[in-house]
């Protein structure tokens, strides 16, 4: 067998490894010690990395590069965690989206054990995971402290968005908003939050969550924040209300703030869905904040005003 690969210049080997797909990198690094060293020295870039949790302390990985690739087998969690560490051990490696997908009910301990092991390994290796978007897709999870610890393991310089679907307690939010990661966040999409403090949301351009009540004073603060910070087009606030809201009360409050209250829906469908659509213009900009409201939803988004005139 000709051993040409190992006699090639380092730069050539690096160029090939840079163009290898992730799965092939994993195989190549097992070929020889020098290949392992080469592969580990070159960062991995993944569109997304998904960890799917399984029963009996197992998990499996799915990643996306040009094509989706999913390993159908579950493996012991320790091996999966080792693979995750391996991807991020090169501090330039990045998964655009990091998704942890798990059980939809009553399996908190399994999720908790996995996260504790993952967090311990990340800490032991002194890493911060580079990802832009954390998706934590666990239907029910009551360990807010551990979730916050997971967020702390992410690089605040790259993290822009967190999406979760489970409910979060007030206490959980209070510790989350204290993290460096939250302060640099631009987008968040949460399940139900118990009792929201509007001040938590003032650094966010895209906001989606569910809550029992949301005070009209807080809506006004969000509107002003969007306008004052001149948030870009496609910014939005999307709040689902689990308790009936009083739209008339909201409109009265807006009038008290010297807003000329006028219902201007942007489509017939909207007119049927929302009780009121209020337009707020950005000074000196071709932008508008459309705030739509009904008994169960408050939805505002920034669009191009010329489009809706």
């Amino acid at each position: 067998m000709e051993s040409f690969w190992q006699y090639l210049s380092e730069i050539f080997r690096i160029l090939v490894i840079q163009k290898l797909d992730f799965k092939s990198r994993c195989c190549l690094r097992k070929c020889s010690k020098s290949d392992r060293n080469f592969v580990d020295a070159i960062p991995v870039f993944l569109e997304s990395l998904t960890v799917k949790l399984g029963f009996n302390n197992t998990a499996r990985l799915k990643f996306k590069e040009a094509d989706d690739s999913e390993n159908p087998k579950f493996h012991p969690s320790s091996q999966i965690i080792e693979d995750i560490i391996l991807i991020f051990k090169n501090q330039k490696s990045k998964a655009q989206t990091l998704k942890i997908e798990g059980f939809f009910r009553n399996h908190d301990p399994l999720t908790r054990i996995f996260l504790e092991e993952l967090i311990a390994e990340i800490q032991e290796n002194g890493l911060k995971l580079n990802t832009t978007h954390l998706i934590f897709w666990i239907g029910s999870f009551n360990n807010d402290e551990i979730f916050v610890e997971l967020v702390k393991m992410l690089n605040p310089k790259t993290l822009e968005k967190i999406s979760v679907c489970h409910g979060t307690s007030r206490k959980g939010m209070e510790i989350l908003v204290e993290t460096e990661q939250w302060r640099s966040l631009k987008k968040f999409s949460f399940g139900e939050i118990e009792n929201v403090d509007v001040n938590w949301l003032l650094n966010l351009e895209r906001i989606r969550f569910s809550v029992g009540k949301f005070l009209v004073e807080d809506i006004w603060i969000l509107v002003q924040n969007f306008l004052n910070k001149n948030y870009p087009i496609q910014s939005y606030v999307d709040i689902y209300l689990t308790e009936n809201a009083d739209v008339n009360n909201m409109l009265m409050f807006l009038e008290e703030q010297n807003v000329i209250v006028k219902n201007e829906p942007i489509s017939e469908r909207d007119a049927n869905t929302y009780i009121h659509t209020q337009r707020f213009t950005f000074p000196n900009e071709d932008k508008i904040l459309l705030l739509k409201m009904n008994h169960w939803k408050i939805y505002g988004f920034v669009g191009r005003s010329s489009r809706y005139n």
Binding site: S3, S9, F12, L28, K30, C31, D35
Partner: protein, 177 residues
């Protein structure tokens, strides 16, 4: 027929353009083979372009270029590739340099995949010595593509990696079955 998706991103195949008559020079390989090439094709190599410019600047006649680190067989392949791409915009190759996913046009795919792996490695090494970005890009991507879907053992066979090595850790084990 509707244009293919992402066709705008793909490098366009070389098309002959009306241009000045070809200026042919001799190129000598490290083992003494003498070949002929159009100067426009040689300009794809930054190394040779610098040498050619040196001759032109001094108004010296360029009769023969010596390529000391590439043997005749490989040099012939290099020149064939350069001839095919002599009309290419070098900015395309530069833009693709650090990209992981690049599109290899069909002529290049055929040209590169027909080569045994050893010859392909020689060709890319020559492209590296001569600094031909486009050929390095396509060559490396061809090697990477040939490894796709192979197990560790198959890859060891493909690349001629003789060293059997038991990895002490279980890392990446989940992607190898």
């Amino acid at each position: 027929m509707a244009p293919k998706k992402n066709s705008a991103k793909r490098p366009q195949p070389s098309t002959p353009k009306p241009s000045a008559p070809a200026r042919i020079v001799k190129v000598q390989s490290s083992d003494g083979h003498i070949l002929q090439a159009d100067v426009r094709a040689l300009l794809l190599s930054s190394t040779l372009a610098a040498t050619i410019k040196g001759y032109d600047d001094e108004n010296k006649p360029l009769e023969k270029l010596e390529v000391n680190n590439v043997v005749g067989f490989t040099l012939k392949l290099v020149l064939e590739w350069c001839e095919k791409h002599k009309e290419d915009d070098p900015a395309i190759a530069q833009a693709e340099k650090d990209k992981k996913n690049i599109f290899i046009p069909s002529w290049d795919r055929h040209f590169l995949t027909k080569l045994p792996m050893g010859n392909l490695f020689d060709l890319i090494t020559a492209a590296y010595h001569l600094d031909i970005t486009g050929l390095i890009n396509y060559g490396c991507k061809t090697v990477a593509n040939s490894a796709k879907g192979k197990s560790t053992e198959e890859m060891r066979e493909l690349f001629g990696i003789p060293e059997p090595w038991e990895q002490p850790s279980t890392s990446t084990a989940t992607w190898d079955d």
